[in-house]
Symmetry: C2
Subunit: 233 residues, 2 copies
């Protein structure tokens, strides 16, 4: 059954968070010189991302937007790796790097084409402001932004997927989760959604070891979003 | 100050709910003949709209999506005016008329042009599914859908406007409420938003008596959304 809605993971699947963070950390280090490799800092920052959402997923911390978590995580790695975060405004500017991450080369064309025939929604852990800014920065737009605030929790909590389908007035099997991460798809399938795996073998840089390939028989396995267009038409 | 985001009222301001309801009631009456004028039925249905949201605004009823309220209101006027609603599926089809209301002639071009330079978000009492369907039916899309579910209440509750600005990460004075209704704008101004009045003198049909003109010194008064483009550029 052709899905009525595609729910997109964003960080890694639609945008290249690593190159965006490296770019803005490089700029920061021209103002506040450091011997650190910006790629090491980007990876350290991203490594704090999943653990920082755990208390929200398990209900021990109230829902908190990613801007707040990204800032807390940045302060932590600044202290751990001992680099100068500059003024409060400089720190805010770095946190906002997550609002201006570049799309993968196929993403804008892929989403705009898919949107012609199918509802395309962001099902990211990014909050609404971040999701709007990422979309406008790159030149696409979503039919709806469904992650985090709308459902009040973070993936892979089941309520996140179920709540997103419900917000569209669709049943889970009418929706397809689109992600470059096997765990995200496994959680979505558990909730009854169709699944599309997108190969992003350099999301974590040249030495990526995880999510290099589909690890289950997902409904679709695609090289990129243009290949997903081909699979769905 | 030029607004960073435009928050649009939808029913009446962007779409012509009356002509859409009349069209679908006419179709319904070809299947279930009635002597009633579809325009009378449309107006009676719409007249139940505001009162049905009151218990949600004042907190005596939990948040309930418009599809449910529209269905309850339709059953009520069906009984009052004594017309045949047909099967459950026929009733659902009528309720879904609110998902396929036609845009005013200037709306699609206006929104698509405004979106090039400014965030354009739906700030409607319509829920996400309805808002997505209305946008796709007419051929535009929002940067974000902010009304009802995101804020958990209905306009003109202050939390509705404040919550929408907050979801975009903007302060109220960076946002402009765009509406054909003076009361909506008054409530938005009370929360600190800028205001744009759009003239829709036939929203309620040829004998409209309310909202024929701006009743306060709103930031902008525009003939339609293309005129709003001219005011903002």
């Amino acid at each position: 059954m052709k899905p009525k809605a595609l729910l997109f993971d964003v960080f890694g699947t639609v945008v290249n968070w690593r190159s965006g963070l490296i770019r803005d950390l490089q700029t920061h280090f021209t103002r506040y010189p450091s011997r650190l490799d910006p790629a090491i800092v980007a990876d350290a920052w991203r490594a704090e991302y999943q653990p920082s959402m755990t208390p929200i997923r398990d209900g021990t911390r109230p829902f908190t937007k990613l801007d707040v978590l990204h800032r807390e995580n940045l302060l932590k790695i600044g202290a751990d790796l001992q680099f100068d975060l500059g003024t409060d405004a400089d720190t805010d500017w770095l946190v906002q790097a997550w609002h201006r991450l570049p799309a993968w080369p196929d993403s804008v064309s892929g989403i705009n084409t898919l949107k012609e025939s199918t509802i395309c929604a962001s099902q990211s852990n990014g909050h609404i402001a971040l999701s709007v800014n990422l979309a406008r920065y790159n030149g696409f737009s979503w039919d709806a932004i469904l992650g985090s605030e709308v459902v009040g929790t973070y993936k892979p909590a089941p309520r996140s997927y179920i709540g997103a389908c419900d917000a569209l007035g669709l049943s889970p099997n009418e929706c397809m989760m689109v992600a470059a991460h096997n765990a995200d798809l496994a959680a979505a399938r558990q909730c009854g959604l169709q699944t599309a795996f997108i190969q992003r073998p350099t999301e974590y840089g040249p030495n990526q070891t995880t999510d290099l390939k589909a690890e289950d028989n997902w409904s679709i396995v695609a090289r990129d979003l243009l290949d997903l267009v081909a699979h769905l038409t």
